[in-house]
């Protein structure tokens, strides 16, 4: 549309260029937050509570995984020899086992060490061992496996590789225990994924509906912006940034609450638990989980705003 009429001279644009525009959108989002404090507080509160539920569940899973990890250290392979080895042979074999993929640590167990352990097990009934000499027990290697090699399939594969080495006699690795432990781990992870999934669905539902309501309350703004000629991106951006900020704030607040609950639990658990959780290896969320929680909040806020905007802007 062209007009010869003298329209108001269009001055320089303050938010030309990507960074200028982003600065403008960010400023607009901050102003919107200030002007709609209550609505924003409701959204941040909802995201906080929703993420806190997820974070509590994550804390539980992390600690169960930690417990499983420490139990899995009991998965170890004991190697006996088909004959007595000279010390050079033993050193060579130890080196070869050490280089096998999956080996974490190889420990030599001498006859004396084996006898000492045996006596420890029979504590209180030492008299049974009178007259028994240490050299009746065989020497062995005890092999600790790397974390990724503790499943029953991996252990079996490792053992079959081990059998190919010369001088190896009997190999023990508690097949039944490894199998049962792995079944337990799989079951625990499956239940974790299921419960997590069931938790996540209502969390996403609640958060997206809260954001939808807050945007619905401000639909006039969407309409007016559209009527004065704002592009869809121009209208959406401050809302999306607002959603992102609400999500980050919700994520950080849920983390803060989680820390508070965790500390409260550590200090008061002694009153109602028979063990001291502070010294039992209970752990807080690792850093990457904390970052993931805040990012999940940001994503929730952003996507919640995006889907709600899509819905309401279709009308204009």
């Amino acid at each position: 549309m062209r007009s010869s009429r003298n329209v108001v001279k269009r001055p320089t644009m303050s938010h030309q260029g990507a960074s200028g525009r982003l600065r403008y959108f960010f400023g607009r989002a901050m102003t919107n937050i200030r002007q709609n404090l209550f609505v924003n507080a409701v959204t941040v509160g909802t995201i906080t509570l929703a993420l806190l539920i997820v974070a509590l569940f994550m804390l539980l899973v992390v600690n169960l995984e930690n417990a499983a990890e420490s139990w899995s250290e009991r998965v170890q392979v004991t190697v006996y020899f088909d004959r007595d080895l000279a010390s050079q042979e033993q050193a060579d074999l130890q080196r070869r086992i050490q280089t096998l993929p999956g080996t974490a640590k190889v420990t030599w167990v001498s006859r004396d060490e084996a006898f000492r352990r045996f006596k420890m097990r029979l504590k209180g009934q030492d008299t049974l061992l009178e007259g028994v000499r240490p050299d009746i027990l065989p020497t062995s290697f005890e092999i600790a496996l790397k974390r990724n090699n503790r499943s029953s399939e991996a252990v079996e594969a490792y053992v079959s590789r081990l059998k190919t080495l010369p001088g190896i006699g009997e190999i023990q690795y508690g097949e039944e225990w490894v199998r049962r432990f792995n079944t337990f781990l799989t079951f625990m992870r499956l239940v974790g994924a299921l419960v997590g999934g069931f938790l996540l669905v209502p969390v996403i539902f609640i958060v997206s509906n809260t954001i939808r309501l807050t945007i619905y309350a401000r639909r006039d703004e969407l309409e007016v912006m559209s009527l004065v000629g704002a592009t869809r991106l121009f209208i959406k951006m401050p809302f999306l940034i607002e959603g992102l900020l609400q999500g980050v704030a919700g994520g950080l607040l849920s983390l803060l609450l989680l820390v508070l609950f965790y500390q409260l639990f550590l200090h008061n658990a002694g009153n109602f638990l028979t063990f001291n959780p502070a010294s039992s290896g209970l752990a807080f969320l690792p850093v990457e989980f904390m970052v993931a929680l805040v990012l999940a909040g940001a994503l929730l806020g952003f996507l919640g705003s995006l889907t709600s905007l899509r819905r309401f802007m279709a009308d204009n």
Binding site: R5, R10, P11, S14, N36, D220, V228, G229, T231
Partner: protein, 227 residues
């Protein structure tokens, strides 16, 4: 400037809002759209600023068929059209100043220029002492003047007003009409939808009359109907 070519619009198959409307508003003209409630006045205005698309026919602005505009083209059209609504459509959580500034923010004006221009238009409207108030604190007439300031702040080529004096007393009506006339004198094409006969009679501008979604005639100078 604004042309309707055999425009029909049906909200649903059996509910026709406009029926075969053909008319033209020339550049710099002041036109009243009149008719009883439900005649199709608001629908015609909405077609001009692209909020509705005709079921049949064409709406042309400066020779461009806006009925074929993609959604991404509408913002550019709307930046050259100021719209005033009966219910004002002011943002209740923003001040008078912010409500007017929004038009220029959308255009990407520099903040300093926005401040100067907004103050200038609000001074013209006699609202400079109320820039810090939110719309709820204003009277109906004042709210209407803010809505007008928002519509006129970027000197649009076209000004559309839907029942702009609907809830105002005579003094306020006159004040609003004067602002319309002033904008028109400066070159803005003005289309005012109203069923207020007294307003039309006092103003002596061309009138396009609608009845039940059909063109019922025109009064005054100009060629309203293209046969």
């Amino acid at each position: 400037m604004i042309q309707f070519h055999a425009v029909s619009l049906a909200y649903q198959q059996d509910a026709t809002a406009l029926q075969n409307i053909s008319c033209r508003v020339t550049k710099g003209e002041f036109v009243f759209l009149t008719g009883p409630s439900g005649a199709g006045k608001t629908t015609m205005l909405r077609l001009i600023y692209g909020a509705l698309t005709p079921t049949r026919g064409q709406v042309l602005i400066d020779g461009q068929n806006i009925s074929r505009y993609r959604r991404s083209q509408l913002p550019l059209l709307r930046r050259s059209i100021g719209v005033v609504f009966q219910d004002f459509k002011l943002l209740q959580n923003r001040t008078v100043f912010e409500n007017v500034a929004i038009t220029l923010e959308v255009l990407g004006w520099d903040r300093g220029d926005i401040g100067r221009r907004v103050m200038h238009i609000l001074r013209q409207m006699g609202m400079e002492s109320k820039i810090h108030l939110i719309p709820q604190r204003l009277s109906g007439g004042e709210q209407q003047r803010v809505a007008l300031a928002r519509a006129l702040v970027n000197s649009p080529k076209i000004l559309l007003a839907d029942e702009p004096t609907g809830n105002l007393d005579d003094a306020n009506k006159q004040q609003i009409m004067n602002i319309f006339k002033e904008a028109n004198v400066k070159g803005t094409t003005v289309v005012v939808a109203t069923h207020d006969r007294r307003l039309i009679e006092h103003a002596h501008y061309r009138t396009i009359r609608l009845l039940g979604g059909e063109l019922a005639g025109h009064e005054g100078v100009g060629d309203a109907v293209i046969p």
